[in-house]
Each structure stands twice: as structure tokens, then as C-alpha cells.
Symmetry: C2
Subunit: 211 residues, 2 copies
């Protein structure tokens, strides 16, 4: 398998965590988003979208969208499972992942921040406020769900898709100095995750392209 | 079952389509987003997030996030399936759904458009350009995938999760006069969907709160 990704892309980090939790190896293929390599012909020939991550499986399947990739890995390599067995639990995990992947992250993507500055003339300070607004409000939605049924990880005693999505978002939040005093359960779960090598060893600072 | 939703919310329309494809009935509970009813105590007591849709199942389970709800319906009411059987096919369907639900729709949500105008002082004309930019660019990503492996619906000869997400996005696109001359396969698939009662009968104009 090859994983096309970028060290600082939180969607890429989600998939790196899932691969590590499954004990799977993938060749690390860096795509320098800040340099625009996602628009280069070589990447466009591989990927339907100018975004990372992209997973190329050994049979040639090319998969994009991080949550879809993680569900694919979970279906093709079922152990350890990244979703609970019961439909209501699965829906809870997917909803928490989507609360981040659909409501926070898309608003703070590099291409969106660039559009704010370049096309709408938004000042840097207002752009940073925008960033923090969606993170702080969005993570409060996850916090509410964690507080309503606390467990070691987002759902139960083992990491799931929700943890794979939560931890990279909190990395971004900290890089942008977002508030987290309203997120005690989020902070606690992230600590539990970071105690596991699958989360720690794959974090942005440890990627080959981080230097 | 009860579905809390809003006629013009495309995330709500996704779930209405899925329920109809499954032949399931749900009480229609309107939440007037434009009036801020999603922030009212009554709704906050039910939902972890001030967004629609919210599905309350007969056992009391409360589910949010439209894609998570649709997967839940597919797991609890397997016929007709809304995902293919093979992992690569499932990943393709989920990726197309997420290309819309993660890359287009969040940027054009009412709360985001309001932030642009009220907090960032963006003019209406520039806001509309922002809206169309993400729709036109985002749907081109779906078009590329449909063109690479054309079929009657997004994936194969029966509607899937991807169609449930695509059609409501195209409704929004048309309401905002977005370009679609670069989307022949998208337009063709939407036509095939709209020929089915599950898509036609649940469209915004036919909802009880549309009047």
C-alpha cells in the first residue's frame, strides 16, 4: 500500500493512525500541499481530487476521503475493529467523526483559508478568529457527547474511527492556540490516545516530510 | 421514528430520500432553522448539535449527522441496500458522498454564510461567489469519478448513499444558479434519481414546512 499524504494534514494523520492501529504498513508518499503538489499532473493522474490523503491498495484500488479510507481498512482488515458492533454505537462513532470532519475541518482547510485572504480580503487576525471559532464551537459538540457517556476513548475502551478523527483536530486546535478549558473530556480522551504508539508515532512531527 | 428536519436543509433531504428508498415512515418534525429553532431549549435537550437532521428511532436512540443516520438505516433495514457489497465499491460510494458532505456543503451552510456576512463583513455578492465557487469546484470532483466509470446512478444500477447526498446538493446548486455545463454525468444521474418517487416526493418543495 502507498499513502499519499502531508505531515500537517489532519485528514492524512487520521489515516496514519488507523493504519498503525491495524498494524499495517504503507509507503509514505509526501505531497507538499503548501507547494501545490496536489495540483501537479502526476497527482491529478492518480487522484480524483486535489486533496490528501490518497491510499493506493496493493490491488491498485485508489481511495480518497479519509473516513471512507478508514472504513475500507476496517472492512478489509477487521482486527482490531475501529467501529463497534451495534448499529447505534456505530452511528454514535460515525456522528462524532463527522461532527469534526464535516463541521470543523472543512472550514479550516488551507484552500479555504487562502480563499478568505486572497479572494475575500479577510485580514489575518480575522482569519485566525474564524479558525478558532469553528474549532471551539465544533469541539464543544463532541465534548457534549463524551460528557453524556464518558469512557476511556470516544466510545468504549478501545480506539475507534472517532478517536482517529478527534486527535488530529486537537493537534490543529493547539497549533492555533484554541481554547480547550470547555473541553475536559476531549482533553482526557486525547491524552489516553496519545499514550498509544499508534497515535504518538504517526503524529505530524514524526513524519518524514516534517523536517 | 421521528425526523427533525427543515425542508430546505440539504442534509435533511438526504435522510428523507434514504427513508423513502427503504420504504420507512418517520414523523416529520420541522425545525425552522431560519428562525433559530435549532438553538431552542427543546431541541437542545434532544440533540448534541444545533443542526438538523436528527432521527429519533423507536427505541429512543437519537442520531445526528446525515451520513451516519443513513448508514444506521442501512444496517437496521438492509433492503434495498444503499451501499454496494464490496469494500472498494463501498469506499467509492462513501468517498463521493464525503466529497460533497465534507468539501462542499459545510462551506455553504447557513451558519457559515451568516458568519461571512455578519462577522467578516463580506458583501452579498462576494458571499454568493464563495457559494458558487465551492459548489462548482466540488461537483467537478464528483463528475470526474462518474465520468471514469459511468453507470445509471452514482455507482451501479440502483441508488446508493452517494445519490442521497448528490441530489440535495444539486438542488442547492440550482437555487444559487451555479454552472453545471461542466457536469454532464452529474446532471444525467440526478435526472435518473428524480425519476424515482423516493427522490421526487421528498424534495424541499413537497415538505410540510415548505409553505
Amino acid at each position: 500500500m502507498q499513502l499519499y499524504n502531508y505531515f500537517r494534514s489532519s485528514a492524512s494523520y487520521r489515516v496514519r493512525i488507523a493504519l498503525a492501529l491495524k498494524g499495517l504498513q504503507a509507503d509514505y508518499r509526501p505531497v507538499q500541499i503548501v507547494k501545490g503538489e496536489q495540483f501537479a499532473d502526476a497527482y491529478q493522474a492518480l487522484s480524483a481530487t486535489p486533496l490528501v490523503p490518497l491510499l493506493v491498495d496493493d490491488d491498485g484500488s485508489r481511495l480518497h476521503q479519509s473516513m471512507a479510507i478508514i472504513e475500507y481498512l476496517d472492512e478489509t482488515h477487521p482486527e482490531p475493529p475501529l467501529l463497534p458492533r451495534d448499529p447505534a454505537g456505530r452511528a454514535r462513532v460515525r456522528a462524532m467523526a463527522q461532527d469534526i470532519a464535516c463541521e470543523i475541518h472543512p472550514l479550516n482547510n488551507l484552500r479555504v483559508l487562502r480563499y478568505l485572504v486572497r479572494d475575500l480580503g479577510v485580514a489575518d487576525e480575522a482569519k485566525d478568529r474564524w479558525y478558532r471559532h469553528w474549532v471551539e464551537e465544533g469541539l464543544a459538540v463532541v465534548e457534549r457527547q463524551l460528557a453524556a457517556a464518558p469512557s476511556r476513548f470516544c466510545h468504549g475502551d478501545t480506539p475507534t474511527l472517532a478517536d482517529c478523527v478527534l486527535v488530529p483536530q486537537v493537534f490543529n486546535a493547539r497549533r492555533m492556540n484554541c481554547r480547550e478549558d470547555h473541553l475536559p473530556n476531549v482533553v482526557r480522551v486525547v491524552e489516553a490516545c496519545m499514550a498509544l504508539p499508534a497515535f504518538e508515532a504517526t503524529q505530524p512531527a514524526h513524519c518524514p516530510d516534517a523536517a
